[in-house]
């Protein structure tokens, strides 16, 4: 039995695992976005807090993924929870850093004009700075997504969902004819997802960026 025949037989499982993978990554991204953007918005103006926030997010990224998933089992148990939290932590740095860069690249004259016309700090952030930083933020999201798609495969090691389960199954049945097929299914699934996500982000970036600041 060849790889494609095998896949034709097992495609419901492959599709199921792929869907789980997508949901897992999206959860991690959403949570990271909710944390990273406000932290960036609160800290980007002053050097010390900004350095601290980016520094911590940077350190998290250096923790080996296996170790991080493992460490999270103690407080969160097995399954989806530690996987989502780990992915969130990994996505923090790219999103936070790009948000900071985006916010800092807004022309100070634009912000000053806004203040001079009586927009409040919050209004300036919401209606001026974040929309202007958005193309850079969405690039951060894109990078984070690519990172998370790969790392999410390790979720299987903590009983989490996703394409990692196919790879893990392949590894544990090493020596059988299907071992390679399973691993290949998991890997190809991730690669295909990476391409599709990138396409989606390109479209999203185009439709959510004001015509006035589109490159």
């Amino acid at each position: 039995m060849g790889f494609w025949e095998f896949t034709a037989d097992t495609y419901p499982e492959v599709l199921g695992a792929t869907a789980e993978h997508v949901v897992l990554v999206l959860q991690g991204l959403a949570a990271a976005l909710i944390v990273a953007v406000p932290v960036a918005a609160l800290t980007y103006r002053s050097r010390l807090p900004r350095g601290a926030a980016l520094g911590i997010a940077g350190i998290v990224l250096t923790i080996p993924s296996y170790a991080l998933f493992g460490l999270l089992i103690a407080p969160l148990g097995l399954g989806t929870a530690p996987a989502v939290v780990a992915l969130t932590l990994y996505a923090l740095l790219p999103i936070m850093r790009n948000t900071v860069v985006g916010l800092r690249s807004v022309d100070p004259a634009v912000v000053e004009a806004g203040r001079g016309m009586g927009l409040s700090r919050g209004q300036i952030l919401r209606t001026i700075e974040l929309p202007l930083a958005w193309p850079v933020i969405i690039t951060g999201l894109r990078v984070a997504t690519q990172i998370l798609l790969g790392i999410a495969a390790i979720a299987a090691a903590v009983n989490g969902p996703g394409l990692g389960n196919l790879i893990l199954e392949g590894l544990s049945s090493a020596g059988t004819p299907f071992a390679v097929y399973l691993t290949l299914q998991g890997t190809l699934g991730i690669v295909v997802l990476a391409v599709l996500f990138d396409l989606c982000f390109a479209v999203l970036a185009r439709f959510t960026t004001s015509r006035g600041i589109r490159a």
């Binding site: 022309d107 004259a109 634009v110 004009a113 806004g114 203040r115 009586g118 006035g212």
Partner: protein, 386 residues
């Protein structure tokens, strides 16, 4: 109607701003009053505290000490955002929101004030027309697709959007080519004649100050105002060495730009020929020229006896031009006469080189009180000189 002294709209008392970590204060015990409906220009060298003073007025910068009153009210008691919504603000870099259309940019303050959709749309179009931009063409554009001059027009329109009584403008016509800049200045002065806002206008160009200002405050080091007076008097009797140095040479020529042709007596002793009326009005003396006009008395050219074709009229000037423009036209045309029309373009008379000389002599140099101020107004007192 007797002219009562205008009421001060902005009053600064003992205003001081000391930035932390700076040896000298940026603004030092400044006393200044800006009369209602006038343009007061802050002019002076770079770093002398003009921008700082202006930003103290709308509390973009908080003062170290001193009082700021607008329309008799101390601004420190007002919520700063509320205060700023009532004060127009335009800056050199324009600070237009690049992700918003021209219309949305102009609508910023009206939206903050909760105006209705239709009222805002009408106001946007009205303002675009006022600053010389066709609403159809420009309202839906983004600032990135405007020229520098157009952006500054939009910046001015945005500052005027909610019809604030007070306007703060920091080098609003800076950073553009001299021609566009002059056009913008002219248009803005024309606009101001209708809207009569109280305006603080910052520049470091003394020519712009003379042109735009009803009064000029000349700033020296550390935010001190060295002289606060009408352009005519500042040019006529510059205070202290620094002011005289800052104004530089050419005060006589500069003074010419304070007088509009509508305030000048023109001579009408040139013979005039109406085209198509036969030879009746042709000049008798050979070698002298008559002005050829059409039936509406619009100037067409110079008619010379014995010549079929009139000589073209190189330029003629309207009532809003100044004696400076007249002199310029004479020099450009290599002539000692320039034709002046009324606002409908009808021939009014000519200004001669001699007229200019007499005028300069009459308005006089140092020691002469006052002089005609733009728009025929006279500012008869010096207020709040620091």
């Amino acid at each position: 109607m007797p002219e009562s002294p205008p009421r001060p709209m902005i009053r600064l008392t003992g205003l001081t701003k000391h930035y932390p970590g700076q040896a000298e204060p940026a603004v030092d015990h400044l006393d200044l009053e800006v009369p209602e409906g006038e343009i007061v220009v802050f002019v002076g060298p770079s770093g002398c505290g003009k921008t700082t003073t202006m930003k103290l007025v709308n509390r973009l910068i908080e003062p170290t000490s001193g009082r700021i009153e607008i329309d008799g009210r101390d601004v420190t008691g007002v919520d700063p955002d509320r205060l700023r919504r009532g004060i127009g603000y335009a800056i050199q870099q324009t600070g237009l929101f690049p992700h918003r259309t021209v219309a949305d940019n102009i609508a910023t303050v009206p939206r903050l004030l909760g105006w209705g959709r239709e009222r805002i749309a009408a106001r946007v179009d009205e303002l675009l027309a006022k600053v010389g931009l066709d609403p159809q063409t420009y309202r839906d554009r983004h600032p990135g697709r405007l020229s520098g001059g157009q952006q500054q027009r939009v910046g001015v329109a945005r500052a005027l959007a909610a019809d604030p009584p007070v306007l703060l403008m920091d080098e609003p016509f800076g950073a553009i080519d001299p021609l566009t800049r002059e056009a913008l200045q002219e248009e803005f002065l024309r606009l101001q004649r209708d809207i009569r806002k109280t305006i603080v206008f910052v520049t470091h160009d003394i020519d712009e100050a003379v042109k735009m200002g009803d009064r000029i405050a000349i700033f020296g080091e550390c935010g001190r105002v060295l002289q606060y007076d009408t352009p005519a008097r500042i040019l006529g009797e510059p205070a202290e060495g620094f002011v005289a140095d800052f104004i530089g040479n050419g005060t006589n020529v500069r003074r010419l730009s304070l007088t509009r042709l509508c305030e000048v007596e023109v001579s009408d002793d040139r013979p005039v020929v109406v085209r198509g009326s036969g030879d009746g009005g042709c000049p008798t003396a050979p070698g002298s020229f008559a002005l050829l006009v059409d039936r509406d008395r619009r100037p067409l050219g110079w008619a010379e006896p014995g010549q079929d074709r009139p000589l073209p009229l190189i330029s003629h000037l309207g009532p809003e031009h100044t004696l400076h423009d007249a002199l310029d036209a004479m020099l450009a045309n290599n002539s000692d006469t320039v034709v002046v029309t009324d606002q409908d373009g009808r021939y009014r008379g000519t200004v001669e080189m001699a007229t200019i000389q007499t005028h300069l002599h009459r308005v006089g140099g140092p020691g002469n009180e006052g002089g005609p101020v733009r728009g025929g107004e006279r500012a008869d007192r010096s207020i709040g000189t620091s």
